[in-house]
Symmetry: D3
Amino acid sequence: MIDPLERWRARGLPDKPDYAGLLTFGGMPYTQDPAELAGVDVAIVGAPFDDLVSDRPGARFGPRAIRAASCPPGAHLEAGVDAFAELRVIDFGDAPVVPADPAASHLAIEETVGAVVTAGAIPVVLGGDHSIAEPDVRACAARHGPVGLVHFDTHADTGTEVFAIERSHGTPMYRLVEAGQVDPGRYVQIGLRGYWPGPKEFAWQEERGITSFFVHDVRDLGIREVVARSAALVADGPVFVSVDVDVLDPAFAPGTGTPEPGGLTSVELLWAVRAVAEALDVVGADVVEVVPTAVGSADVTALAAERVVREVLTGIALRRRTAM
Amino acid sequence: MIDPLERWRARGLPDKPDYAGLLTFGGMPYTQDPAELAGVDVAIVGAPFDDLVSDRPGARFGPRAIRAASCPPGAHLEAGVDAFAELRVIDFGDAPVVPADPAASHLAIEETVGAVVTAGAIPVVLGGDHSIAEPDVRACAARHGPVGLVHFDTHADTGTEVFAIERSHGTPMYRLVEAGQVDPGRYVQIGLRGYWPGPKEFAWQEERGITSFFVHDVRDLGIREVVARSAALVADGPVFVSVDVDVLDPAFAPGTGTPEPGGLTSVELLWAVRAVAEALDVVGADVVEVVPTAVGSADVTALAAERVVREVLTGIALRRRTAM
Amino acid sequence: MIDPLERWRARGLPDKPDYAGLLTFGGMPYTQDPAELAGVDVAIVGAPFDDLVSDRPGARFGPRAIRAASCPPGAHLEAGVDAFAELRVIDFGDAPVVPADPAASHLAIEETVGAVVTAGAIPVVLGGDHSIAEPDVRACAARHGPVGLVHFDTHADTGTEVFAIERSHGTPMYRLVEAGQVDPGRYVQIGLRGYWPGPKEFAWQEERGITSFFVHDVRDLGIREVVARSAALVADGPVFVSVDVDVLDPAFAPGTGTPEPGGLTSVELLWAVRAVAEALDVVGADVVEVVPTAVGSADVTALAAERVVREVLTGIALRRRTAM
Amino acid sequence: MIDPLERWRARGLPDKPDYAGLLTFGGMPYTQDPAELAGVDVAIVGAPFDDLVSDRPGARFGPRAIRAASCPPGAHLEAGVDAFAELRVIDFGDAPVVPADPAASHLAIEETVGAVVTAGAIPVVLGGDHSIAEPDVRACAARHGPVGLVHFDTHADTGTEVFAIERSHGTPMYRLVEAGQVDPGRYVQIGLRGYWPGPKEFAWQEERGITSFFVHDVRDLGIREVVARSAALVADGPVFVSVDVDVLDPAFAPGTGTPEPGGLTSVELLWAVRAVAEALDVVGADVVEVVPTAVGSADVTALAAERVVREVLTGIALRRRTAM
Amino acid sequence: MIDPLERWRARGLPDKPDYAGLLTFGGMPYTQDPAELAGVDVAIVGAPFDDLVSDRPGARFGPRAIRAASCPPGAHLEAGVDAFAELRVIDFGDAPVVPADPAASHLAIEETVGAVVTAGAIPVVLGGDHSIAEPDVRACAARHGPVGLVHFDTHADTGTEVFAIERSHGTPMYRLVEAGQVDPGRYVQIGLRGYWPGPKEFAWQEERGITSFFVHDVRDLGIREVVARSAALVADGPVFVSVDVDVLDPAFAPGTGTPEPGGLTSVELLWAVRAVAEALDVVGADVVEVVPTAVGSADVTALAAERVVREVLTGIALRRRTAM
Amino acid sequence: MIDPLERWRARGLPDKPDYAGLLTFGGMPYTQDPAELAGVDVAIVGAPFDDLVSDRPGARFGPRAIRAASCPPGAHLEAGVDAFAELRVIDFGDAPVVPADPAASHLAIEETVGAVVTAGAIPVVLGGDHSIAEPDVRACAARHGPVGLVHFDTHADTGTEVFAIERSHGTPMYRLVEAGQVDPGRYVQIGLRGYWPGPKEFAWQEERGITSFFVHDVRDLGIREVVARSAALVADGPVFVSVDVDVLDPAFAPGTGTPEPGGLTSVELLWAVRAVAEALDVVGADVVEVVPTAVGSADVTALAAERVVREVLTGIALRRRTAM
């Protein structure tokens, strides 16, 4: 594995500037060779795919933007742990998606995530539209069995179809539950608001035993209570964490396909993701629906998404430390 | 009335994509024929006018941007009611404003809103600069008599003049009170902050018995208490709701003519508008000062404004349901 | 048909402001009722579809942006004719495309364009990605038989596939020729440059007798000579004109999915399109690959596309005038 | 007069960085004291006013943006003369315009420009919408008598009214001719294109003896021939030069209220303005309709406008040098 | 001293429009003449310098953007005092920084701030990257002796070096403490979060007795308690207030070099700065790291920074009033 | 060397989508191992450095933006050659520059370019500000002796200093000539315009025998004649090609630090660069001063720069083909 940072290190500098060097997540080593996954704790995978959206496309540029928003490794100032020091993290590159071919792209994502899972590493997938949660979770469930799901989102994504399309960015969670890859009794949604889905979908959710915390629940109970209840519900067993950046208010994440005012703050979301990742046995995660809209070189949505990934890593590191 | 959605429905799809089809509010039917107002509950009216601003113009593009930010109808996830199912809502188009002619434009707005009011429907006006509140309210008061006013704004807009201009976006509320169209004892302002207006205007407000809740009151009392006190003050009788998007912090509404840091969050504003519309007898509303600044196709300010209108509709629907 | 302009006219104003009133092409009357196509010369059709791109999406927002870039009718200052006065032009709305469903969307486009053609009007389609040329031309050929094609583009769009996808924005012209809907002997490409397609596609083009004028031909021969030769080649018989805005240099059309430096100027393109439309028997046209990237309210790419449509209309009007 | 550059000079640096120091045109000394106009050759005046537009506003921010686009003084690389070394140039600040008060604002502009003219200096006015040409030229004609006019623009601006408004950004030239302040026999328009004005306006122009060079004339004759013919027509006597940046193609000047594709290049315009200013007796000039749309800190439209002013200054310097 | 507002006042208008007139902070009088500092309470100084950043540059445009975000003077609606009426405030222009010369630029800043301090006025410096805190504070300490420091920031800026550079935007606080210009026992940091600095820097901070309040402390204790504790710690004696706008969440301040999600809200920061300035003896302040990213003319980051300066002024005015 | 494209190829696709996969120039293989330079014809090197600018910074983001603007390999449609098929091209990554340390950064660039040169490959450097031409050329001259220089630029960059800084983005060519690394008799500048440099620099240039073609020469002679004369002057011997994107008009390259209206078109520049590279013995090249200003994901300046590099490669391939 070629280490893109060696030149800076050779000069006595521990890090590279964010804007220089090979574009990988957090400046981590890059490989696409499954053999190099041995011993890796977490592998970042890009899923540059947005062919299944029903509104604004552009999330295919998300993985690149999230990587470009990386800051150097370091200890999390609240958690007191440097995930990159505790965990072996690599950037496993992008899945070989095919433009305008949803089936081939989903297969490519599932195989790439699957390679990570097979190697015993935790995949963290950078989306991409939310339809990728289907191959992401399927690959995890193939190894771990039905997983619990902590799902941060404005939208429940439990439609049977969107505009008559069954595999859509609005249907992955329905499909995963029905296919037995997500255990509905261990599936919690956080942040729902707005005007979708409707009675049919909520009736199905209730029937399956899925738990929803709306934004008004966060407002009324506080994020800490919502996370505590969520963790208690999901409890033991493998868990997937899926974060749609539109769970944030558009002030914090304007660059997304279907933004909905009235959402979470980044203070709330970042803490919640870390708390979940520390409390539960995370076997995979994704952060989706980042539509880059940078002016100049800054992109606050991609930045928020990058930090969500960092909180996932930090939570995992905290849990491992505790476990020891 | 031509239904622009019939083609999608003919294909078995209940909605059209947001980005396709005729550009109307929420995809609602469009007409400019007063005869078709019969039986309508709420009519959306555009007021693409910004000739009376004292700072950054551009709100003339606001109505179009707000319509473009619409999402499809559906039940409000907290309120549990789909306003479009409960109310008959149409898009009555734009008032025939005349560029660079404030008097003719105000007259056009007043006549258009007046046609809605005369037909027994509730007008919801998309601004435009805040000067349009004058014709908006005048048209309502012509039918309902002096109205109560719930006014969300950074600025009191009760100047006698701005730069010696008497009909300005900074003076509508003074003029409406002095003309007897707003009952000052039933007039509440929510969200004031910053550096304007000054002692003269506040002295007049006190003299007239107008109530002001500043942002620091919202901070100290909470938005619920502020709304409760406001509703108690305004109480029974016809009410107009006027929302200047600059009441939001610029993080939530950067696209506006005179943004002022330190404002409300969208969580606060959206709840408050719905609560007001549910608690009081709303006979008209406007949402103003949206200056589109979209990069690509997203415009978070227009989006927030669109959702404010939705909350007005939802509150009205809730009130009617309760009334039955 | 409701005339959205009657209010302004009732005030003695012949036009509405560009930013106000119903959003239709050039402020023309809007209908989606095929019965109202009787007597119409040209019908504008939107095709808000971009699911078949291989690079940057966003052209689904193109039709709306092109309409928003309209200026009022008036006589073309060089040509001396007001197309809107000479021709009866309507806006026939958007085809009822379905997100993430290319087959259904193409069918919807073909049916909508077909309704226009059937009524004896000339369709001018606002894209959308270039894959829509396939249903556009197919609908025209269904009535007129194999058509000639004048195709302004950076890319030949004659691939058999792009990333193994056969119906793509890079393949419509191959498919139309092979299906017998475009007569390759009457097919001229203008503006090719860059690095695609390759030997295989050019070999096929040569075999079929397609004529290509590269940007370097425009540079060396001048646009007048290129158009003269093109018109001579295409000659009599029905002709479709397909304009991909990326034929313009990115300076003139930055908002497109696969921009390529070194392109035509707007002076060249606008003249050429008008000259073609005046010289030949145009039975249909499209302008595609507009990806709106407006900052504030201006969008130079949509503006250029709107004016390309105007030149089509002007050319048709000139031809009819000459014919009388 | 305080010299804002003295600190840099005190450090041995001849210039200040563009981004630092007091914001004046070209870093020139600033004063608003008419007494300090003595001995001044050219005074820059800002007219931050856009209340008379019929489409997109924002030109009120033009003067500030044009100043921010300044580069340091230096010899023009083609002309070989440093206008700032040959001429005494000052920044006379902005006219005290009043928001939403066109009459007061025009009066303020006329008085400010008048102060410059009275002092014997040449005013160069930074707009602002094109309606300011009326007070600009009126102030010049008050001293010099009816002036010749070289008018670079997409639009003739010779309407009797726009949307029934007589003093509009579309009418200044009509009003100036009718008021006797512009000599129609010495009035040349360069760059007309698009769809406005119509037969009525052109009939009046012909009647008055105004000469129009369209963009297609520039294309066919070349900019040199057009300027030569223009100079011959305008000939001796005082001349005002009025440049609407929308004469440039939107590729070169996207930030303007009514952009029109198919325009001049900056190479053409910059040369033409300098040639006119060298050939004729310029007594005043303005550059108008700059609507800043900077992303980050660059604004190509303001930049082009700034360089147009530089060419005016360079032409004047060349003429004076020749005269000696 | 030339008063740039006299023209408006001569017309009977108390203020100028924000977008017109000389660009100074709050429209205050401008001078660079130290002699005119006599009697001045507060002098605004620009430090357009960003040569010592480790990530995104652009803060050199900050001072100009902050001035452009000014609104007119007026009483603070919560505090009830108009700082501009109580204090004599001037804009002392920009320090004569030299591009690409950090040493010369820092010296220029120190001398300029020093001139203000020497004259007995309080300097408020507009950055510029955070390295300017070093000359800012040094100039204050030269007169007042070691100062207390209230430092709002995401990052502690107490590195010994950043990428081996000792004078960096990440090191000023270390250098000031070590040089004896900041009293570490009276130095409080508010708002730290993210992933920098690390153990070495925090160990040094602890050793020196510096107090840190992290964002999680603000979340858990509330901003009021944090400010109360901070004020108690800093207590009597001269104090410098240094505000890095990245202490705000990127939603509120996207335009900065190293944004970090999860930050303060503007409601929190504005109150806190005013409270600090009222409670303590402020002898100088700076607001730094504003990288303008305006689209059109609005720039929410510069706007927030401008209001931070207003809160500093308001706090000082409140304190003086109380003192009387 | 890991081949990031193998996954796509394994699926039967020859290329990857532009937006997916490892971010390298043209999707070429990436390495930073000098041992892998054996057999390489051209190595792309990034120089993300902008600490020596005198105006707008941001070019440190240039290399990443240029890579992101890459399109897949393919035959140049005019030249008929696929450079990537004829030449072995790799992406050698970024030089390990150090923020805020010009000396260390220049050394890092020189060493990285030197490694390429030593291995017998041609370096093509992506800037970065134009100061990097100094280490770029120095590394080439170290092997090849004094080189000829074809320099496309608005500015001559032959200052002895800029703001008293000797190593600046305005001085590299002076320094290289004086140090004997550029042969002034074989040094040609193309595209000069605007207001810098002045008499002193031109006197020195004349003394040294440097040849300048201004933009007005291109206008008057045509780009073909200018290139022909340039090639004749530079003639045989090793040549470096240095392209500052600001040689293009800001319409074509708005994202640059010191844009100057009135520049070359992309049609002119792209042809000229290829012609030079075909005619002369290019031993190195750089493309500099790209300041990314993408809105969404498109960046026309980076796109133009990427295609300039392609023309360099195409010219080299043409020359080699001819040589065989």
